[in-house]
Amino acid sequence: MRPLRIPLILIVLIALALLPLYGSDTIVQFGISTLLLAVLAQGWNIIGGYAGYPSFGNSAFYGLGAYGVGIAMVQWQLPFAVGLALGVILAVVFAICLGIPVLRLKGHYFAIATLALAQVMAAIVSNVELAGQNIGLVLPPLNDDALFYELSLVLLVAATLTVWWLTRSRFGFGLIAIRENEEGAVVMGVDTTRYKVLAFALAGVFSALAGGIHAYWITFLDPESAFDITLNVKMIIMAVFGGPGTILGPIVGSFILSAISEFLSSEVTSIAGLFFGVVIVVAVVLMPRGLADVARRFHRTGWRYFIENIRMHRL
């Protein structure tokens, strides 16, 4: 299995990259949203999966990225790339300003401080004239789904390479140490606050880029859609379902769950949301380390795997 892994990944990657040549328009559009969700899940993986600090407000970055592109292109008539850069800058500044007070604290403070982030950002932005207030911004249309698809794919590859780098760098080991035992990490000389803020900012950068691409693709943004709360739900569930703290888990999770959710929402819209909620509850009870861990251990333990998980954590 192991020696086959890299060629296998390359084949899948080439197949994905060539998708616009053989896939229908609907497939390519579904592909764009799935890839962007996978980027969000991968971004969440950095702070939630590796550092063990679950953020419930990463869609704030997504919205900032979207507004970076929107403001640059509509209000200042600048090119798309500058807009992306502006979004990234906004996200990093935001991550540092919020992260320094909140990430000095232990897990649950951070988690809840991020819980209402999307609503708060939407409330602020809807009062900013530059951002079009409640009405939103209409971007110049660019009808090139293939381009957006390839951009999203490149972004996902970049995010994944970054996560891969985490598994073999000092910075990544520091984050894992924080997740496993924060006091221990401090004792070992990890500057925990700086590491956590950097991880939060890194997650923010990828989320902002995803938001920027999405905004230009949809050509419209308003506070409600840019700071979409359901995105938080989706990215967290996809990362947790696939395997938080693994390189490929969040991607596998988002591909599988996107496909299921696409199928379900063609039936009834709110069923898809309900499904996500049930998946996260069941996943936390039965497979808290995600599909990646099931794949590693299931062949040895069989169905006992799930029972073992319950037995380990129940009261």
Partner: protein, 287 residues
């Protein structure tokens, strides 16, 4: 001056309601060490139960409150016994995720079952006001706020002076020792979570008499309850009442001086500010 006075009164009335909202969260957090991200969604559920018993059974929202609380207690007992006890010894991360999942389930279930329409509980006396020194006090708001504070105090007496209350506090302080004295934690955890949800249900019923209900109010209410808990502390309900009043006043003043859309921003700002000023949290000994 009259306007300011009126705003202050509104803030205090809202603050009473906030106190009972936060009390359930603080109880569950302090005793079970579960930060219940679905707390706001349970408040929403309580508000709907109250709405249905008002519009279907014609039950006055204040008289129907015990019914809501009892139903919510049952829901809470079942959820802790059936789901949350299964992850009780897992890392905090897992309990956060699972209650987040519950929040998602409740929100979408509410959207499916109750529809996304805005609803209000309007008893016949809902338009009535009392005038005191030129300040208008709506009867419903006064009753809701007074009842909320009363219930908060009753809860405190219960925790201090009953056998069950003592068992709950003992469990919060030292689980192994409580176990040695014959406390069955699975049952007691479920009772505590049930009480937390009964409080959330009561808070929801009172909330429905003064504000609009829809399936999406949960997350904001959770964040507010959390802010109040860390301002006031988990130790005494008096702290929660104080925290509720502080938040109510801050929101009312923000509405007056900055603008109504910023009220939620203000409560979030308070939360972050408290975390900056007192990075260890304002929790006192349970922190």
């Amino acid at each position: 001056m009259d306007l300011l006075l009126q705003i202050l009164v509104n803030g205090i009335l809202q603050g009473g309601l906030y106190a009972i909202m936060a009390l359930g969260l603080a109880l569950v957090w302090g005793v079970l060490n579960i930060v219940n991200l679905a707390h706001g969604a349970f408040i929403m559920l309580g508000a709907y139960i109250s709405w249905y018993s008002f519009s279907w059974l014609g039950l006055d929202p204040f008289i129907g409150l015990p019914l809501t609380a009892v139903l919510m207690f049952g829901v809470g007992y079942a959820i802790q016994r059936g789901i949350l006890n299964l992850v009780a010894r897992a890392p905090m991360f897992n309990t956060l995720l699972i209650t987040f999942g519950l929040e998602v389930v409740l929100t979408y279930l509410a959207q499916l079952v109750f529809s996304a329409d805005f609803r209000t509980i309007n008893p016949s006396y809902s338009g009535r006001n009392i005038d005191v020194l030129g300040v208008t006090i709506p009867v419903v708001r006064l009753a809701a706020s007074g009842l909320a504070i009363l219930l908060t105090l009753v809860m405190w007496r219960f925790l201090l002076h009953t056998r069950l209350g003592r068992a709950i506090r003992a469990t919060a302080q030292n689980l192994p020792a409580a176990r040695l004295h014959g406390v069955e934690p699975r049952h007691l955890y479920a009772v505590t979570f049930g009480l937390g949800l009964a409080l959330a249900g009561a808070a929801g019923g009172l909330y429905g008499t003064v504000s609009q209900i829809n399936p999406y109010i949960g997350a904001t209410l959770t964040a507010k309850s959390f802010a109040i808990s860390i301002i006031g502390g988990l130790d005494t309900p008096l702290g929660v009442i104080a925290g509720g009043l502080v938040l109510g006043l801050i929101e009312a003043l923000t509405t007056l001086y900055v603008g109504p859309t910023f009220a939620d921003v203000a409560s979030f700002g308070v939360l972050v500010l408290v975390l900056i000023v007192r990075p260890s949290g304002l929790l006192g000994r349970t922190a």
